[in-house]
Amino acid sequence: MKKILKKIIALSLTTVVGGSFIGCSNDSKQSNDSGDGGKLPSATAVWTAYGTEKILADVDYSARHDENAFTIKAFRNEYESAQIVLSPNEKIEKYSIELNDLTCGENVLSKDSFTVYNQKYVFVDSIKDNNVTTGAGYYPDALLPYETAVEYGENEIEAGKNQGIWITLCASKEQAAGTYTGKFTVDMDGEKYDVPVSVTIYDYTLSDVVHSKSSFLINADELAVGELDGTDEMIETYHDFLLDYRISPNHLPGNDYYAELQGESLEAFLDSAVKAAKDPRCSNYNITYTNSGVTMDVNGTQTWLQTVDFVIFKNTLVEMAKRSVTEKVNLFTKAETYIVFLDEYDYNNRISEANYNLEKIDELCKQTAAELEETLVCDDAEFKAELLQDLAKIRHKLVGSLNPDLTSKATMVPTIDKYHTEAVRKEYEEWADSWYGEDAELWTYTAMDPDPPYPTYHTEDVLVSSRLMGWMMYNYNIVGNLYWNTTLYTYSDGYNTMGQIQDYYDTALRFWRSNGDGYLMYPGRPYGIYGPVGSVRLHSIRDGNEDYDLLYALEEMYAARGVSGDDFDSVLKYLVKDLYNGTQCNTDVRINELVVQARETLAQLLVLAEKGVVLERAQVHSLTGENEEKYDVARFEISAREGTELQVNNTVLSATVENGIAKYIAEVQMINSENTLSLTAKTVEGTYSLQLGLSAGGKVKEMRKSFIELSSKLSYNNVASSVAEVDGESVLKLNASKTNYRADMDTTAFAINDSVKMITLRIYAEADGTSLRVLYQGANDSALIAALEGYELKCGWNEIKLDVAALNFESGETLQKLRVAFTASELEAVYLADIAWEVAL
């Protein structure tokens, strides 16, 4: 007799929330050694996990076995997932799951709103990424439809292993908002386990229209290997599948990048373009081109350059214009180009080719538009004008980073880590603006590089990373996401391609150095499925794309009320503050819960906006108290329809009314470690609330030391110091004897630790251009570490701020040494004024 206890939990949700326990046997079955170094859980458990995390098959999660409520919070028309995890202590020959309708008062959420998948695990024998916390083992990836898993006898579980059941909800657009409860029942070899279920449907409907852009390759050759089917029908099935994940494939079905468009193939392209132009799921597509070449003079050498065949390309543009007129749909609105042979043009030293092709193709688009102005027959002048305008400004993607030798117009597509700092993001924005003005777009990609904590699609990375990419993209005005392959069904070591994979579901490493890179789908053929099988990573990408569209919807409603982009961003920053820093994901173990919280807040903001309540602007200013302590105050400008009563943190706000719109000011003193804007809006339709988490606060006292005062704690290299006066202030002048010089400061006595937020250095420079590097050494560091690189001093006063959180001090660790190192082109003096930091009171 099995030593597991049947635990039927018939609990109300209230009881469940109260911390009840499901499925965990109290039977004290002895732990076993799994043989691979991991400990097996001591009892069979049925527990739950987020849809933003990967639960490995061979890791002991027994500390989480009391997480027992299956919970999803979702918008209408949105896909959202969660997991039920089965962790038996004995082999399970067969498991099954039964879903039930859920109820919320009179309303019913049908069990048909859910899709159930059996997670398949891929063995990762070697961790390739830096900065990951999990080791070698069985990672979940493919999501096999549950019925298929049963049909193929894969609904079994080895003793001591975890088996995840992935359950995805998509509530209809008509589903009433509310929290629906009920239960799902898991059967393991006849033992039944009831799992309490709580599904919250937010009172907002996600639009069908996809606003983020993407260019994800479906490689027809690779697809044909895995599916043993390379027909247009199969490729179109994959294409349609990706569109359902709010992803636009690289090229239209049946048209590889470099197909020679003529006759039937041109007709096929135009047919596909018409379909894509009308499909709300498709946000963009690339115009197919043909390769050619030209020999030309490059820096005095006759050089052969690969090119687009511009004759064929022009013909394609003309035929697209004609088809637009006959179909009455503008085929250029979503059209772009992506010249693949220019990929990573900087890395591959193809700058000449990039300049030549991009300049030519942009000219060609404009020239063709001008010619069609004369020749294109179209009764609708307005439509024709819009059509040709869109043709003239077709964007041309170029994968790579900014390079001073690139002199042609392009939509740059750098890796996501390039957008990490605000300064670099600004460089890319300014470059894009300089070419495209208000039509400028930023794109990005992630592939083999970068490593976590930047977003990746790698097997060993945390799942939430790929979702957060959608948030980052919206946050930083990055419209497009490019991915080099979703169907790598062969192995490539980077040089030799098309190495065979005979087990598509258990081969993690397919491209050189990154597990999971190059594929997001699996061939359905081995399971008798026509078309692809998705993955948890693909679901996560869709989640991120849906979040993008929800943020888009929020900003659209705010913009309709006249809120500027910058003001919207001032509110958005609170929504995303716990999710990432720059483009590095938050690695906090609570990140899954933090995503749920951010989405909850997003839902509240969306519902409030629909009811007319908009946070128009957020600003933070600093106040000084009676004892010279400083603290921040967050000030919100809020507007609502006249007649709305607003309360913030239990205080009723007074309003000024203009043209039927009431304006309110709410202030929150940021004096606690956690601060919240707690808002309640009473409208004629009902009462709505918002809990917007603000920054951590507290009262601080500013400490400031002049460098003259600190001169005994300074040591120098290639420089001598003297006292000087700048703008009436006594400062320490550094007289350099070489163009590279530095000063080291012993900071031990200042007790600067992780409670300090910011260190500010004030430095005066005589001229522009001296480069500053700041290094630091904490008590636990064995050497100096760069905190700031390549900061260019401007002539005059410079305030250099160092984020102490970025120094990653351990608790109690203090700053021991700070180095300011200068590099100048000429011997010019700099002047050190003071160093300031804030100490929490």
Binding site: A224, E227, G230, E260, G263, S265, S292, Q306, G528
Partner: protein
């Protein structure tokens, strides 16, 4: 039941195989799926019975072939066992790559490796030609990801099963690290304008303990590859960097106008790739190991001739030299072909030996770029040789 069928099929094979290869006698016995890798106990290996999806995973569909389905329903098209592979070669005239199906000789999931062909005698495959006319189908050994043997073509009678039997000419196989590795076998189809259907079944490898003698190869003074001897074509490798669907095929021909020098090498390729994909023909280490390149010096020439019957987009080729350390140490300037005329290429040793690696040459590759046009291209190569200023 399957074993009985296997035995019956084997008897049929033995009757037909005698004329071709007497060493095939007494081959059939044992369980072809046994993990036992000894020839004596396991002389017949079923590379693919096409009975289930796991076996189908040993295939790779290439060259925009169309589709391959596991057929278990149309029993009249199953030669043996519970299934066959239904191959539909799509006839879209815009899809011009050579369609083929790759069958692995190593099974990763069961850890069976039959890629060492030093004891292989034959490969057989049953093919049903679903068309109303005769068709040709080819078998081609794949040595590595980049290197293929030349294709052997077979005639298929209409609407009938034909057993292809490809003798393994072990004496021509190239030994690498002591192994005569054939990592897979391509089943090569020709595309027409209409879809074509074939059924494949019972892909087998026959093995033997009979020893073999590598063919005796000698070269004339200063000869690298005159292509006057058949083995010089058999010893070549063909491949394509970046895309196996563009691997060229080669033939030994004697009828090229105006050569007057015995045989020549005909290279046939289909071009649908990009500039990142380079089909090539390799004169490999087996040839260079017979040549003392150290006796050549500056002023001496590395020469060969090329001929193009049509320009047709195929207007340039390149020659590359690789050294024993794996380095590509020389790439020629583009060699421009002339329609209907032989072009002599002569490169000074001083140029090719700039890095001092000429004496350690491993391979000579003749490449053509696969970016132009969409029709098959043909060119000829002849008389790869050294010419000395003074002898």
């Amino acid at each position: 039941m399957k074993k009985l069928l296997t035995l019956l099929m084997t008897l049929g094979f033995l009757c037909s195989a005698v004329a071709c290869n007497t060493s095939a006698a007494n081959l059939e016995s044992g369980d072809s799926t046994s993990s036992e890798n000894e020839v004596s106990s396991n002389p017949v290996i079923t590379l693919n019975a096409f009975d289930g999806q796991e076996e189908m995973n040993r295939l790779m569909l290439r060259g925009v072939l169309g589709k391959v389905e596991l057929n278990t329903a149309e029993t009249e098209y199953i030669k043996e066992g519970g299934g066959s592979a239904k191959v539909t070669v799509i006839g879209n005239p815009y899809k011009t790559a050579q369609p083929y199906l790759y069958q692995a000789t190593e099974f990763f999931t069961t850890e069976e490796d039959y890629s060492d062909f030093s004891k292989a005698s034959n490969v057989t495959l049953w093919v049903y030609n679903g068309q109303e006319e005769s068709k040709k189908i080819g078998l081609q050994f794949v040595y590595s990801a980049e290197l293929n043997d030349i294709t052997q073509w077979y005639e298929l009678a209409p609407q009938a099963w034909t057993q292809l039997r490809c003798s393994v000419d072990r004496e021509y196989l190239t030994a690498t690290n002591g192994r005569y590795t054939v990592q897979g076998i391509n089943v090569v189809f020709n595309r027409t304008n209409a879809d074509e259907v074939y059924y494949l079944d019972d892909f087998k490898l026959y093995r033997t303990d009979t020893p073999f003698n590598p063919i005796s190869m000698t070269l004339a003074e200063d000869e690298i590859a005159s292509f006057d001897k058949y083995w010089q074509v058999r010893k070549l490798n063909v491949g394509c960097w970046g895309d196996q669907s563009l691997v060229p095929s080669v033939e030994w021909v004697k009828d090229v106008t105006a050569t007057g020098k015995g045989g020549s090498l005909r290279v046939i390729t289909s071009c649908t790739g990009t500039a990142d994909k380079w089909p090539y023909v390799v004169v490999n280490t087996n040839t260079f190991s017979m040549i003392d390149l150290g006796k050549y010096e500056a002023g001496d020439k590395l020469c060969f001739e090329v001929y193009a019957p049509e320009l047709n987009g195929m207007d340039r080729i390149w020659m590359e030299l690789y050294s024993l350390d794996g380095m590509k140490y020389y790439t020629s300037a583009p060699i421009v072909l002339k329609k209907g005329a032989w072009v002599e290429v002569a490169i000074d040793v001083a140029d090719v030996n700039a890095t001092g690696r000429f004496v350690n040459t491993l391979e000579l590759r003749i490449l053509h770029q696969g970016y132009t046009g969409d029709v098959s291209k043909i060119f000829y190569v002849d008389n790869i040789r050294m010419e000395r200023v003074k002898k």
